[in-house]
């Protein structure tokens, strides 16, 4: 559509065509500019105000009084985040939890994706549907399921007691272990999917060549399969890690009072303390932490979206 086979002068028809294209492009562009990008500028703005008891609960940045426009910028929220060890601990806790969960997802998800990609063709679709199906049911309910399993009187403890492996119930619910388990469980399909789509495209002749040349299968895997599936691994890790850092539902339902994660802290600042400026500053710092992973993911994704198109 963008290749014009006959180089002709800009006739009226071509001009309307270009105009139509610009309109087509403009609709999603304007929507996303307004409802995705502009809001980030607003978070940044609100994070530089101070909280007041009012509706909305923050002071204006620009004030016009007696013909003078004054700009009031308050860096206090950021200094407050740095000075209170709670917030630093929450950021560290989020990154650590997300990192461990991502590694767990990769260790479970990679072999799963590998087996799926090597399965007979007519099985692949079934297996893919089976892996993705849980993610189409409710996320909230899948996390909730673990509450019944991990609780002190839950299924797992009852089972272990009945087997005689433990004498008293293990405390599993409301611990960091439960949060990591929950994130791994909830995000596993998003790790498997990109690795599978990557591995399924792998040219099998490369593996045959390696084996013909006397490569052992394990060497072939390390030397050929794994490096060639790097893009899929990266995409999967980003799809798990980035949302997991800001996760709120899982630490809220499965975590305990000592589970410090930034998504939960932000939620509490906003809904319980009604401190919008501090919540905004928390979001900005989180965004800054996630900027590099988001850019990495974007580069992968835009390559996927504009391949040979």
């Amino acid at each position: 559509m963008n290749v014009n086979p006959t180089p002709a002068p800009l006739t009226a028809r071509v001009r309307t065509l270009l105009f139509h294209r610009r309109v087509l492009f403009g609709i999603p562009f304007a929507w996303l500019l307004l409802f995705f990008l502009l809001p980030f500028a607003l978070i940044l703005k609100i994070s530089l105000t101070s909280a007041v008891m009012a509706i909305p609960p923050y002071e204006p940045v620009f004030r016009l009084a007696e013909n003078t426009l004054s700009v009031v910028v308050n860096f206090g929220n950021y200094l407050f985040l740095l000075s209170d060890s709670l917030y630093v601990a929450a950021y560290w806790g989020s990154v650590k939890t997300a990192l461990i969960s991502t590694i767990a997802c990769l260790l479970i998800g990679y072999p799963m994706a590998y087996a799926m990609a090597r399965a007979p063709k007519h099985w692949q679709l079934v297996l893919l549907l089976l892996v993705m199906l849980p993610s189409w049911t409710s996320f909230l309910i899948r996390v909730y399921a673990w509450m019944g399993i991990l609780g002190n009187q839950g299924l797992l403890n009852s089972l272990l007691l009945w087997l005689g492996l433990i004498d008293e119930p293990l405390k599993m619910l409301n611990t960091n272990f439960a949060v990591i388990l929950g994130i791994t469980y909830a995000y596993l399909p998003f790790m498997v999917l990109p690795i599978f789509t990557n591995l399924v495209k792998l040219d099998l002749r490369l593996l045959e060549a390696a084996s013909d040349l006397g490569c052992r299968s394990i060497t072939t895997f390390w030397a050929i399969t794994l490096p060639l599936s790097k893009a899929g691994i990266l995409a999967g890790c980003m799809l798990v890690f980035i949302p997991a850092v800001g996760e709120f539902v899982i630490p809220e339902l499965l975590g305990g009072p000592d589970t410090l994660m930034i998504g939960k802290v932000l939620w509490e600042e906003f809904f319980n303390n009604r401190d919008w400026p501090v919540a905004s500053a928390l979001a900005i710092v989180m965004l800054a932490l996630l900027l590099v992973p988001i850019i990495l993911f974007h580069r992968f994704q835009s390559r996927e979206m504009s391949k040979n198109g």
């Binding site: 610009r22 087509l24 996303l32 609100i46 049911t137 909730y144 009187q153 949302p243 906003f270």
Partner: protein, 275 residues
């Protein structure tokens, strides 16, 4: 790992992984039929919690609200996401294309608390400046859901658009088709399955969202995840087990139908190629 016939490590992991994914859901289904409130006690088979669920007016009205929002969000996201995918895969040299592709991929991974907070701040500021939206509720949730669901639709549709043979579109236009007609007559029928799966994906995402909806909703617009969340926060609730079972069964049924249709199409395509 390459051992094709025997039981390899990766096959074992696949089976264990699937068990890991399905056992918790299976437990929920089984316990939705438990007469007792407690998870550790099996007090006999009962459908009591299902009748309790259908008498709960709060849950029923939240289900209706969520279904409405999901329907409108999925429909709008399908249009917007397809448009996005189309301009990104077809208009290679358009100014602003890089920014657009950035804005469409970022919502895929953006933590929900950030998206929710940022949209709420936008709605508050808009209401201050223009008087709209006066109340937050269904419309604001619809806008929020449309925005992040469009990203998922764009990914699904652009994958399909890349497979479409470009030369057919060009041939249609060389023969005098307008670009609009070319899109509806040539491109759309080919990408229709992707539109359907994009719509379904957007529908489930919207139906499931708790965090973003909590930020941008107002009084009187409580969606299903909000009701579920406030009740499971208190602990195990057998009514929620019953609800979970119904959700899991519905999704499985739709997935089964989708699989059946895909398999039939695949078979038809294969036999068409052979003859």
């Amino acid at each position: 790992m390459v051992n094709a016939r025997g039981i390899s490590f990766s096959k074992v992991m696949l089976i264990l992984g699937l068990l890991f994914l399905y056992l918790p859901m299976f437990v929920l289904i089984v316990y939705s039929f438990n007469a007792s409130r407690l998870v550790s006690v099996w007090a006999g088979f009962s459908t009591h919690w299902y009748s309790a669920l259908f008498e709960d007016q709060q849950i029923l009205s939240a289900v209706w609200m969520s279904l409405k929002i999901a329907f409108y969000s999925a429909s709008m996201a399908m249009c917007l996401g397809t448009l996005c995918a189309f301009v990104i895969t077809r208009f290679k040299r358009m100014r602003g294309r890089t920014l657009l592709s950035g804005m469409i991929t970022a919502p895929l991974v953006m933590p929900e608390v950030i998206t929710g907070l940022s949209l709420l701040l936008l709605f508050v500021q808009l209401a201050e400046l223009t008087g709209w939206p006066a109340d937050r509720g269904m419309v604001t949730i619809w806008i929020a859901h449309t925005t992040f669901c469009s990203a998922y639709v764009a990914v699904v549709v652009s994958a399909r658009l890349q497979e479409v043979d470009h030369s057919i579109e060009e041939a249609a236009m060389d023969l005098g088709c307008t670009p609009l007609k070319t899109f509806f007559v040539v491109t759309l029928p080919v990408i229709a399955p992707a539109l359907v799966s994009g719509w379904l994906l957007a529908f489930t995402l919207s139906l499931d969202d708790l965090v973003i909806a909590s930020f941008v909703s107002g009084p009187g617009s409580t969606t299903l995840p909000m009701v579920v969340f406030s009740s499971v926060r208190m602990g195990i609730s057998p009514k929620i087990n019953a609800l979970a079972t119904l959700i899991i069964l519905t999704v499985s049924l739709v997935a089964f139908i989708a699989w059946y249709v895909m398999r039939r199409n695949e078979k038809r395509r294969r036999s068409g190629r052979l003859s």
